[in-house]
Amino acid sequence: MSSKPTPPLLLGSVALGAAGVLGTYFAAGPERFWANWVLWFVLLFTLGLGSLFIVALEHLVSAKWSVPVRRIPERLATLLLPAIPVGLIALGAVPVLYPGSRPEAAHHPILAGKAFWLSLPFFSARTVFAFVLCVIALAVLVGGSLKQDVSRDPAFNFRARKFAPAFMAIFALVITLVAFDWISGLTPEWYSDIFGVYIFAGAFLSGLAATALSLLYLQGEGRLEGVRGDHLYNLGAFLFAFTVFWSYIGFAQYMLMWYANLPDEVIYYKVRLAGAWRAITFALAALHFILPFFALVTRDAKRDPKRLRRVALLMLGAHVLDIYWLIFPALGGSPRFSWPELSFALFFLGGILLWVRGAMEKGEDMPVGDPFLREGLEFRL
């Protein structure tokens, strides 16, 4: 565990990005600034929460195969910590971007009825509530696991298994709140009951992809000895299965609205199927579903590190595109991508990589105190 020097490339990216981020606010206007900020907040949050879900899923079903790789989603889940200040700053976007919180909403026939729910104080209260739940879950699942490295106390496993079902309820609540408030709140006349599930699918996929990517990176450094193709296969199979789940939910939502053809519902898709957004919609379907699906369909592909790394990178990129596709049409007009988006990407990607690099040095690489570690290492398909 030697602490490695921080690569200047990442620091430079963050510094350059920060200048661009500030420049965006003054040169490109607050609307664009906040749209980008919310995008990266949602990305950070879904990445962290999706990783925490992987950890909780293992405890929930008492999975053994994933014990040797569990430390990676545990470390990725700490991204929820930087997500908190980012999210608190993002509350500044509420009066700018979210129509439900503007004073005109009082005269809007639909929004007037939701005025209390959409008002800035209650909006902030819900966000803070979600953060508190996340921190509690993080402390129990990740904090407890790190302590077990030293204590070697199997009591943690029992505690985590008891907590996991409660976490699932918390998770469903938190991700639905964030999805409804931060993303579908941009178009408050439009609503979809399944929207939270759609965001969950994306979050889980991004958590899986980040886990696979970090795992392969650490293995490239010669760490995580004992993790074999069988473990990779399971990660790959999860990725494979949930590309289908994501498209299933996304299409189910689209098809019902397409069939019913109600003006206040179809407008959401009308905007996304017009002009240049149309190409992005089809690109999203190709990059988030068709490409990874066929890349992972064979058995060998799921255990091939090279292929898995490429698909994981693709999946993370597709997740960013997904959130971009959800948020940016609300600004109106055609898709915008230029120096503000680039500098936000530099700033946040650099920041995320710095954080993850630091997190990857915390504790042991595997949960050495977990009594099931041996069984997990011996896992064979």
Partner: protein
């Protein structure tokens, strides 16, 4: 029972002994090597040199075929054979096809996986498998590990096989007689039966389809015709007035039709024809005039149409000075309200058609009373 034996079984006490024996027995190349163990042993697939099952590829192919079948069938039904517009969607709406494509993909894939594994690859059912009736089977299901050399052809030498197994360390050797395969319920039989059912369904479906196309009287389902419903021009007890067809609510206006003008003809004199005098408008006016006016007013608008003699009616001679002096609005008023014996044409002609007829009548009047200057206008 034939003298041929099915296989020679060698028993081992530990899985390790079995694993060590496998390469030796395989090297003897006497027949197919198969292992029977009480529980799965990791790595035994590679040791036995089992080829990767082709089932995955079969499932992929059949699943894709399922998706294409569902898409093709739905597309043919809804866009080619019997297109009906529902919900204002295009007949070939791929969005509506997706759920069924998904289901049929899953159906084809699971059937291929299940039946392909059981019938095609495992050749089940296999009642009385020789290993099941061997003496060793009790041990194999408990704490013994067996390696079988199975006969590949009639040249199988069971004595040599037994020797090879013993040389590889088998504690016990048992020669299994050829199985008494059921002559009836074999995988081939089941596959043929399933294939037969499939072909029958296909033939029956296509047959009924072509029959109903060629002989429409043999409609397989007549519920749509026999249902209780209101028929056009027929009485019905459903409404109080005893009529099946109900008149529209008073004041109803059809799309594209303006309400019938209620003013007097003189009041209509100030109306201005909103249509330009273009080739298209005159063509439309000519068509409408031919359809609705010509029978009475005649092709030249001189009041001598083909119906005039038959009914002894006297339609207006539109070439008369009185009508040539009419403003456009008055002509329009007559089309809408009718005059004397002429009924209102408002229900049959749209606003555009009425004004187009007015233009056309003006053209007919000018053509019948042409002056010399008119010729110059026509010159290009």
């Amino acid at each position: 029972m034939s003298k041929l034996s099915y296989a020679v079984l060698g028993l081992f006490d530990t899985p390790d002994a079995l694993m060590h024996a496998i390469p030796k027995v395989r090297a003897a190349k006497l027949g197919t090597v198969e292992a029977y163990t009480p529980y799965p042993i990791h790595g035994i697939d590679d040791a036995l040199g089992l080829r990767r099952s082709p089932l995955g590829g079969m499932v992929l192919v059949m699943g894709t075929l399922g998706a294409l079948t569902a898409f093709g069938f739905q597309y043919w039904i809804s866009a080619i054979d019997y297109p009906i517009i529902t919900g204002g969607k295009s007949a070939a709406s791929w969005e509506a096809f997706i759920p069924i494509m998904f289901e049929v993909t899953v159906l084809f894939a699971t059937f291929t996986a299940g039946l392909g594994m059981l019938l095609l690859l495992n050749r089940l059912p296999f009642f009385g498998h020789p290993v099941l009736s061997s003496k060793a089977i009790k041990g194999i299901t408990r704490d013994r590990y067996a390696l079988a050399l199975e006969a590949e052809s009639e040249a199988f030498d069971s004595a040599a096989a037994a020797q090879a197994l013993q040389a590889a360390g088998a504690v016990e050797v048992e020669i299994l007689p050829a199985p008494d395969r059921s002559p009836f319920l074999t995988s081939d039989y089941i596959l043929r039966t399933l294939g037969g059912i499939f072909v029958t369904c296909l033939v029956a479906g296509l047959g009924i389809y072509t029959l109903t196309k060629w002989f429409p009287l043999l409609a397989p389902m007549k519920y749509m015709q026999d249902q209780p419903r209101l028929n056009a021009q027929k009485a019905s007890t459903f409404f109080k007035d005893g009529r099946g067809m109900q008149p529209p609510v008073p004041g109803t206006v059809a799309r594209g039709y303006l309400p019938t003008a209620t003013g007097t003809q003189d009041a209509a004199a100030t109306l201005v024809n909103p249509l330009p005098r273009t080739k298209e408008v005159f063509a439309l006016g000519r068509k409408v005039y031919g359809n609705r006016c010509e029978v009475c007013h005649g092709a030249l608008a001189n009041g001598s149409g083909s119906l005039t003699a038959a009914y002894g009616a006297k339609p207006a001679n539109l070439q008369a000075q009185q009508f040539r002096d009419y403003p456009d609005g008055k002509l329009y008023w007559v089309i809408v309200n009718g005059k004397n014996a002429m009924p209102s044409h408002a229900p049959y002609l749209t606003e555009t058609q009425r004004w187009a007829v007015v233009h056309y009548v003006r053209a007919l009047q000018r053509a019948q009373n042409a002056k010399d200057e008119d010729l110059k206008v026509v010159a290009p």
